[in-house]
C-alpha cells in the first residue's frame, strides 16, 4: 500500500515546474458547444424564475423541474469537459463575451464568462454534486409544504455559484459571490419559524458581509491600481504594480475568502448555519459555496504570487482553522456541527495548500474536489440518519444504527474512508499531497497538517462509532428505518466518489496536469523521503482511529456529556469560544459604540440641528412681531433706520 502510494505520488513529484498560461480564446473562435456555455447558468436561472414566480401552481412538479435544470447543465458540463480535453493546453481558456455590462468613463465591466480548466472542475462539482443533492432533496423535503420554494432557492444558489466560478471579471464574480450569500441566507433560514434558524441565517449573512467588504475593497483597489477588473488585464498588469498595493489587494481578497469559507477569524457562522436543511448543509456549507474562498485565492494566483506576505497570511489562516476546526469537530456532540467543524478543518487544509503558493494551488483544488464529494456524502448520510431519528442530531442519543440503516452506514463509512485518508481513497491522495507540499515549503505547516490528519481520524471515528456502533441510546419515540431510494441512491453515488474519486483524478484524469496551466506548479523538495512521510501520516491516522475507537466504541457513551473533562474539551464544545470572542471583541464594543453614536446623534448632531431650527424659529417669531401689518410700525422702523444711519455718519465724522 505504501509503495503504491509512493509510486503514485512520485509521478507528480517528478513533474517539472509549470508556468501559468494566460492566453484565452474567444468563444466564437472555440466554436461548437463553447458558444453555448452560458446555458449552464441560464438553466438554473430559468428554474428559479419559474419556481419562485410561478408560486403554488408549480408545487406539483416544481421539484422535478428544479432537479432537471441542474441535471441538464451537468450534462452540458460533461460534454464541455470532453470537448475541452480534446483541445490543446493553451486553447482551453474560453471567454464568452455576452454584452457590455457596465461602462462608466474609462471603467468597463463586461458580461463575460470564462470557462477554463479551473472553472470546468467547479462546474462539474457544482452541477454534479448539486444534481445528486437535488435528487436527495426530493425525498428529504417530501413532507415540507414549501418544497417548491426550497428548490427555487437551490436553483438560485446553483445559478449564482456557477456565475461566481464562470465570471471573467471580479465585478461579475462579486455578483455571483453575493448571489450565493443570498441563497445561503435564504436556505439557512428556510425554516425561519424556528428562532434559531432565523438567527443563524442572520449571523451567516452578517459575517459574510464583513468578508464581502474585503472583496469590494479588493475590487476597488484593483480598479484604482490597474484600471480594470477583468481577470486577464488585472493579472497581466499585476507584475508592474506596487508590491504593497498587490499585498493589500491580496489581503482584501483573503478577508473575503475567510468570510465565505468560514475561516478564522470569520468562522463562527458555519456551525450555526447547520440549522438549515441538511441538503443545504451538504451542498452549500460543505461541497460548494464555502469553497468559494479557495476558488477566489486560486483564481487570483497571479496576484498572490506577487504578494508573499498575503500568501503567508493565507497559510496562517489555513493552519489555524485546520487545527481549530478539527478540535471543534472532536468535541461537538451534534452530528452536523461536528461535520461542520470538519468542513472548516478541511477548508483549512485547502487554505494551507493555497498559502503554499504555486506548490500548493493545484492540491488545494484537488482536495476541494475530493472534499466536495466525501463531505457531501457524509452530510447526506447524516441527513439520512437525522431524517429517520425525528430530526435529532445528538450523537449521544444515537448508537447501533448500523443494525437498521445498513445503506446509510455504508455510505457514511465510505465518507469516513474518504475523509480520513485511508489508502487508496480520496484524501489519501489529496491530503498527502498537501502534507508533502507543506513539508517541503514550511515544516511547521507540514507538522500541523499531519497533526490535523490525526485529529480528522479521531473525530471521524468518534462520529462513526457514536452513531452507528456501540449500544442503542435512542430516545423512546424513535423508530429508525432505512431512507427511501430517492435519498440513498445519491448517497451511493457520492460514496463512490468518496471512495474512487482520488484514484480517478490521479490515474484516469490527471487533475494536476489539467489544472497546472491555470495555476502554475512548482515542485518542492521534501526534507525526508516520500515513504517516511506516508508512514508517519498513516501512523498518525491509526493513533487517531484507535484512540477514538477505544473511547467511543468499546466503552459506553454517556447520554449526557461528561462534566469532568479537560479545559480543551470544554473550549472545543463551545467552538473554542468563537461566539464569546465575537461578542467580547466586536458585539459589545459595537453596541457601546452604537449607543454612543445614538446618544451623540440625539444630543450632538440632532441637538445642533434642532437648536438651529428652534433658534431660527424663535428668532422668526420675534421678527414676526415686527411684521404686524401696521404702517405706523413700519414708519417707526424707518425712523430707527434713519436714526442709526445718521448716527453712524455723524459719529464717523467726529471720529
Amino acid at each position: 500500500m505504501i509503495s503504491l502510494a509512493s509510486t503514485i505520488l512520485s509521478t507528480s513529484d517528478e513533474e517539472p515546474a509549470v508556468e501559468p498560461i494566460t492566453a484565452v480564446v474567444s468563444a466564437a473562435e472555440a466554436g461548437g458547444l463553447f458558444e453555448w456555455f452560458w446555458l449552464l447558468i441560464a438553466f438554473p436561472v430559468f428554474g428559479m424564475l419559474v419556481l419562485l414566480i410561478g408560486g403554488r401552481r408549480t408545487n406539483a412538479w416544481g421539484h422535478l423541474l428544479g432537479t432537471a435544470v441542474v441535471l441538464v447543465p451537468f450534462g452540458i458540463g460533461v460534454a464541455l469537459l470532453i470537448d475541452m480535453m480534446g483541445r490543446a493546453e493553451d486553447q482551453r481558456s474560453v471567454v464568452l463575451h455576452m454584452w457590455d455590462w457596465t461602462i462608466a468613463g474609462n471603467f468597463t465591466a463586461d458580461m463575460a464568462l470564462r470557462l477554463d480548466p479551473l472553472s470546468m472542475v467547479f462546474v462539474l462539482l457544482i452541477t454534479g454534486v448539486g444534481s445528486l443533492i437535488h435528487i436527495y432533496s426530493i425525498g428529504y423535503m417530501s413532507h415540507d409544504p414549501d418544497r417548491r420554494k426550497f428548490f427555487g432557492f437551490l436553483n438560485l444558489f446553483i445559478a449564482a455559484m456557477l456565475l461566481l466560478v464562470l465570471a471573467n471579471n471580479y465585478l461579475l464574480l462579486y455578483v455571483g459571490w453575493e448571489g450565493v450569500g443570498l441563497a445561503s441566507y435564504l436556505l439557512v433560514g428556510f425554516w425561519q419559524y424556528k428562532n434559531s434558524a432565523a438567527v443563524a441565517a442572520k449571523k451567516a449573512f452578517v459575517m459574510n458581509r464583513v468578508g464581502d467588504v474585503g472583496l469590494s475593497l479588493g475590487i476597488m483597489l484593483m480598479f484604482v491600481t490597474f484600471g480594470s477588473v477583468a481577470f486577464e488585464e488585472v493579472f497581466a498588469a499585476a507584475g508592474e504594480a506596487d508590491g504593497t498595493v498587490v499585498t493589500l489587494i491580496g489581503l482584501a481578497l483573503l478577508l473575503a475568502a475567510t468570510g465565505k469559507s468560514a475561516q478564522y477569524p470569520l468562522q463562527a457562522w458555519l456551525l450555526d448555519a447547520m440549522e438549515g436543511p441538511t441538503p443545504v448543509s451538504a451542498l452549500i456549507h460543505a461541497a460548494t459555496m464555502v469553497t468559494a474562498g479557495v476558488y477566489l485565492i486560486v483564481r487570483s494566483n497571479a496576484l498572490f504570487d506577487l504578494a508573499p506576505i498575503a500568501l503567508n497570511v493565507v497559510l496562517v489562516v489555513g493552519v489555524v482553522t485546520m487545527v481549530a476546526g478539527a478540535v471543534i469537530g472532536c468535541a461537538n456532540d451534534d452530528l452536523k456541527k461536528s461535520l461542520a467543524g470538519s468542513t472548516m478543518s478541511q477548508i483549512g487544509y485547502m487554505f494551507t495548500a493555497a498559502g503554499l503558493g504555486p506548490a500548493g494551488y493545484v492540491f488545494a483544488i484537488f482536495h476541494l474536489l475530493m472534499h466536495g464529494m466525501f463531505k457531501a456524502d457524509l452530510f447526506l448520510s447524516a441527513g439520512s440518519v437525522m431524517h429517520n431519528m425525528n430530526d435529532q442530531l445528538n450523537m449521544r442519543r444515537f448508537g447501533a444504527l448500523r443494525t437498521v440503516m445498513i445503506v446509510t452506514t455504508g455510505t457514511f463509512f465510505a465518507g469516513f474512508l474518504g475523509i480520513t485518508g485511508v489508502p487508496p481513497f480520496d484524501s489519501f491522495f489529496s491530503k498527502d499531497d498537501i502534507i508533502k507540499s507543506a513539508l517541503s515549503q514550511n515544516w511547521l505547516a507540514g507538522i500541523a497538517t499531519i497533526f490535523a490528519a490525526g485529529l480528522t481520524a479521531f473525530y471521524m471515528t468518534r462520529q462513526l462509532s457514536m452513531t452507528f456502533f456501540g449500544k442503542k441510546r435512542w430516545t423512546q419515540d424513535v423508530k429508525p428505518k432505512e431512507s427511501p431510494p430517492v435519498m440513498t441512491v445519491p448517497m451511493i453515488f457520492l460514496s463512490a466518489g468518496a471512495l474512487f474519486g482520488g484514484l480517478t483524478m490521479v490515474y484516469l484524469f490527471n487533475l494536476q496536469e489539467w489544472l497546472t496551466p491555470i495555476t502554475g506548479f512548482t515542485p518542492g523538495e521534501l526534507p525526508i523521503p516520500d515513504w517516511a512521510v506516508e508512514v508517519i501520516t498513516i501512523a498518525t491516522l491509526a493513533i487517531g482511529v484507535t484512540l477514538a475507537w477505544r473511547q467511543y466504541a468499546t466503552r459506553d457513551v454517556p447520554e449526557t456529556p461528561p462534566v469532568n473533562v479537560t479545559p480543551l474539551t470544554v473550549a472545543a464544545r463551545k467552538s473554542l469560544y468563537a461566539d464569546a470572542i465575537n461578542e467580547g471583541l466586536f458585539m459589545r464594543p459595537g453596541q457601546h459604540l452604537t449607543r454612543f453614536l445614538v446618544w451623540f446623534d440625539n444630543r450632538g448632531v440632532d441637538g445642533i440641528v434642532r437648536g438651529t431650527a428652534s433658534g431660527v424659529s424663535g428668532l422668526s417669531n420675534r421678527l414676526k412681531l415686527l411684521q404686524n401689518g401696521y404702517a405706523r410700525s413700519y414708519a417707526l422702523t424707518m425712523v430707527v433706520g434713519v436714526l442709526v444711519i445718521a448716527a453712524i455718519f455723524i459719529v464717523s465724522r467726529w471720529v
Partner: protein
C-alpha cells in the same frame, strides 16, 4: 409784512429775535396741538397756525414771495382741501388717543427725541461758527425777491419747473381718476325711483315725505313728535339725533310742563274750535299722556304707527372713525 421785512433787513436785530421766538412758540405749539388734539378739525386749525407762523418766518428770512405762497397755497388752498375732506369724512369723528400698538408710543417718542438730539447736535456743531451772508444782496440783484426767483426759475431751474408743472397736471388727473366712481348699475332715473318707491310701499314703506316735527302736536318744538291722525305720536318726524332722548328730558321738567299746559290753554278759541271740529273723532290730544305714551304704562304704549320701518340708514350718518 413790511415790518417783518424790515426786521429781516437788519440781520440779527432784536426785532427778528422777537419775531423768531414768537413764531417759534406758535410753530411748536401748533405742531404739538396737531398731535395732541382729539378732534381732527382742531388739528387742522393748529396746522394752519403753524403754517402762518412759518410764513412769517419766511418773510423774516427775506423770502416774501414764499411767505405769500405759503399763506395762499398752504393755508389757503391745501388746508382748505384738508377741511373739505374732513367734512366729507365726517367732521365729528374724533380719535381716541389710546395707543393700540404695544410699545409704539414709548419707542416713537424715544426715537424722535434721538432725532432731535442728533439734529441739534450736528446742526449746532456744524453751524455754530458759520457766518450768514444775508439775503438782501441776492434779493436786490434783479430788483426784488420775486424778480430774483423768477430769474432763477426761468433760467437755471427751467427744466425742474416744467417737470413740476407736469407733476401738478398728473396729480390733478390722478385725483380725478381716484375720486371717480365707476357706474356699476343702471342709471336711476325718476321713473325707476318712483316705481321703486311704490314697490316699497307694498312692503309698508310710506312713499311720501316724513312728517314734520310738531305738526298737530301740543308743541312745535323740533324735538316734539308729530301726531298721527289717530293721535299717536310718530318718532319719524323727529330729526334722527333728537329721537327718543331730548323730548323726554324736557317733559320731565315740571316747570316746563306747566308752562306748556298754560300755553295750550291759552290757545285761541277759534283755533281750538277748528281743531275740535276737525278732529272730533279723535280727541284727548291735549292730554300730555296721550302725546307721550312712553311715559305711561307699557300696555297702552306702542299702539300707534311706530311699526313703520325706521328711516333708511343713509350716508348722513357720520363715519365711526
Amino acid at each position: 409784512m413790511t415790518l417783518v421785512m424790515q426786521a429781516a433787513e437788519s440781520s440779527g436785530s432784536t426785532g427778528e429775535q422777537v419775531t423768531f421766538w414768537i413764531c417759534a412758540f406758535l410753530i411748536v405749539t401748533g405742531g404739538l396741538g396737531l398731535i395732541l388734539s382729539r378732534k381732527t378739525v382742531h388739528s387742522a386749525l393748529f396746522v394752519a397756525q403753524t403754517m402762518i407762523s412759518l410764513a412769517v418766518l419766511y418773510a423774516a428770512n427775506g423770502a416774501p414771495f414764499l411767505a405769500l405762497v405759503q399763506v395762499i397755497v398752504y393755508t389757503g388752498a391745501v388746508m382748505m382741501l384738508f377741511l373739505f375732506v374732513l367734512m366729507l369724512v365726517g367732521v365729528d369723528s374724533s380719535d381716541s388717543l389710546i395707543e393700540t400698538l404695544k410699545g409704539q408710543r414709548v419707542a416713537a417718542i424715544l426715537m424722535v427725541l434721538g432725532v432731535v438730539v442728533l439734529i441739534v447736535a450736528s446742526v449746532g456743531g456744524a453751524l455754530s461758527n458759520s457766518t450768514s451772508l444775508g439775503i438782501a444782496e441776492a434779493n436786490e440783484e434783479f430788483g426784488g425777491n420775486v424778480e430774483g426767483l423768477a430769474h432763477l426759475m426761468f433760467t437755471t431751474y427751467l427744466l425742474p419747473l416744467q417737470v413740476v408743472a407736469a407733476l401738478l397736471i398728473s396729480a390733478a388727473l390722478g385725483a380725478l381718476v381716484l375720486a371717480h366712481r365707476e357706474r356699476i348699475g343702471e342709471r336711476l332715473d325718476q321713473t325707476t325711483l318712483a316705481n321703486r318707491r311704490v314697490a316699497a310701499f307694498g312692503d309698508g314703506v310710506h312713499p311720501g315725505g316724513l312728517p314734520n316735527p310738531g305738526v298737530l302736536a301740543s308743541s312745535n318744538a323740533i324735538g316734539t313728535p308729530a301726531l298721527l291722525p289717530d293721535g299717536t305720536p310718530t318718532e319719524l318726524s323727529v330729526p334722527v339725533p333728537l329721537r327718543g332722548k331730548k323730548a323726554p328730558e324736557i317733559l320731565n321738567d315740571p316747570e316746563l310742563i306747566k308752562a306748556e299746559q298754560a300755553e295750550i290753554e291759552s290757545i285761541s278759541e277759534s283755533e281750538s274750535a277748528i281743531r275740535d271740529a276737525g278732529l272730533a273723532g279723535i280727541g284727548g290730544h291735549t292730554d300730555l299722556s296721550d302725546v307721550y305714551p312712553d311715559q305711561l304704562d307699557p300696555d297702552e304704549a306702542g299702539t300707534g304707527e311706530t311699526e313703520l320701518p325706521p328711516a333708511p340708514d343713509d350716508d348722513a350718518k357720520p363715519g365711526d372713525a
